[in-house]
Symmetry: C2
Subunit: 345 residues, 2 copies
């Protein structure tokens, strides 16, 4: 394709600032003959306060027309917890069937990590994005009384588990180490655990070159800090994936550099790319936000749209910038400019 029709959702807090840098890098890296069209959407706290809306059917219809979506961050302390998460972020992931939530972790030389001894970290988590405890199933009875009961139902289907497990095997097969780890808690969550484990073992037979293993989620958190080099590709459920990818981000350079893609592999719906971090209202508008996570999300977006060389150029620019930035304090804009200069050269 020689044009990209991109939906841009800056969102709340630092979202605006980091997305501006992401777009700067996108413009700088794309070949001259690729036409980049962007349409900005005003989702987030401001619109919610003004209209009570988070994401309408008309919004979804409009978003659907784009090739991909770039999101900054959604969330503000002025909005009750859950309203924008369930009403926007999760609604969009579910509506657009973003069942592959892709979160790579790579610790670059010289980048700060809380771990001693600068371990080798280079893995990717394939997190299921449309099932598990994220479905919103469950409810409350006798609310606010001493007899309240609140439930949350994790829903797992053969259809949903198999497609994400297949995606993860294909990714593992394509990587040099060809190793895939299933993370679950199948000794306690035995119903879902059986489905995940049986599906994993079944698909494994089609990938004889891929080495597989299994870790309980609690044990996985231990290895993420004691031996992160053991991981190549991880496939896991929506909630476990949420938890371990924040930990993975923390050990591999911090939440400021963690990218993610919410992918609909069939292309029926546009995929969405966003930094793992939130809207960080405490530092918003001060030029302090690190746009690196957004820029790396742009690389995932480029790769998804078939611009592999451009994606690699963005990742190389970030790697060079990260290893050379040292203790220098730069504004959001300065980091963006530095990266734009690198990808253009």
């Amino acid at each position: 394709s020689h044009s990209i029709n991109l939906a841009v959702i800056p969102g709340d807090g630092i979202g605006q600032e980091v997305v501006a840098q992401g777009l700067k890098i996108l413009a700088a890296v794309l070949p001259q003959d690729v036409k980049l069209e962007t349409e900005e959407y005003d989702f987030g706290a401001k619109r919610y306060h003004a209209t009570g809306e988070t994401l309408t059917d008309a919004d979804l219809a409009s978003l659907k027309k784009h090739d991909a979506i770039l999101l900054g961050a959604i969330g503000d302390p002025s909005v009750p917890s859950g309203v924008l998460e369930r009403g926007f972020l999760l609604k969009l992931r579910f509506a657009f069937d973003h069942h592959v939530n892709l979160r790579p972790s790579k610790l670059l030389p010289g980048v700060a990590t809380p771990l001693a001894g600068q371990p080798e970290i280079d893995f990717v988590v394939v997190r299921e994005g449309t099932e598990g405890p994220y479905t919103g199933n469950g409810g409350t009875i006798r609310k606010g009384t001493p007899h309240e009961v609140a439930t949350e139902v994790s829903v797992n289907t053969a259809f949903g588990v198999e497609r994400v497990v297949r995606d993860a095997f294909a990714r593992a097969q394509a990587r040099p180490r060809k190793k895939l780890t299933l993370v679950h808690k199948n000794n306690v969550l035995t119903f879902a655990g059986h489905l995940w484990t049986d599906t994993f073992n079944k698909v494994a037979r089609e990938y004889p070159e891929v080495t597989t293993d299994y870790l309980h989620v609690d044990a996985a958190t231990i290895f993420l800090v004691t031996d992160p080099a053991r991981f190549d590709v991880i496939v896991t459920d929506n909630l476990f994936g949420d938890i371990i990818t924040d930990l993975a981000a923390a050990v591999s350079g911090g939440i400021g550099v963690a990218a993610s893609g919410n992918i609909n592999p069939s292309g029926e719906f546009p995929s969405m790319f966003e930094p793992v971090h939130g809207s960080a209202p405490d530092i918003a508008g001060q030029g302090k936000a690190d746009p690196t996570a957004t820029v790396l999300s742009v690389a995932l977006l480029l790769r998804h749209l078939g611009y592999e060389a451009e994606a690699a150029r963005v990742e190389e620019a970030v790697a060079a910038d990260l290893t050379e930035r040292g203790d220098s304090v730069r504004t959001t804009d300065e980091i963006g400019d530095a990266l734009a200069a690198r990808v253009a050269s």
Copy 2:
């Protein structure tokens, strides 16, 4: 009380070895006039293979007569995942209403941690033990077909949440820093999240001296590696507690020194004390297991039974041993002997 009637469950793998050291230290630290009676139970993989039993009603009736239970570890690769966990460990926690799962984390000077810069770590996690996704609610339809659906239901009651939150506030109030953090995922698991958050805020009003805050579980994993000193007491749900306490153990000296108590505060049922680690079949029978976690669990047991001075003596012995052990390689028995000598002196 001038006698302790203890149920001892060595269990599988290294369980036997570490429990032997725990009992050694218990005998060494108790005043002469306290009569220690122990009864050993053969639960675990061997009995399961021989009889198909994991924990019968008669077993529960027999265990109930004891003042407390010391457990080594249960679990063996020869038994399908989930059988001993659900059939023994969780069955016992539920049957004896062990709703306070207490897991302290303290990094001692000189003790190895995967974190750079030897941060200060001294907090305790109060993990709910009888609700959440651990209840075994849920099920499977169309098993083994492309249309399988497997569910797991997290059950949360006002009764269950309030009692554990109250326990945590009381513990926070009794500590010098008086700080309590609620860990949940209330922006996604909104039904359970409301119940936990509302209950937490309600009880907080009775503890004006306790500083409170809230973290999503994913963010909590980040702080556990980037700023563990921020934590004093954490209260959380059964599954989140399982995950973050393994991570907490990993950063504060390793799973070899992490103790836990499964506590029934009312005393209606005996409480159970066990190392957080598993049965480690790969090193079983070789004298390689570190009994420290079991010995620290014995300290929790002593404190629970009212032997505060003795509990403190065991903890001091462990602290001295840990800070002085350096790189020395000692057998399970040698570590036990060294600790027994310290508590006796």
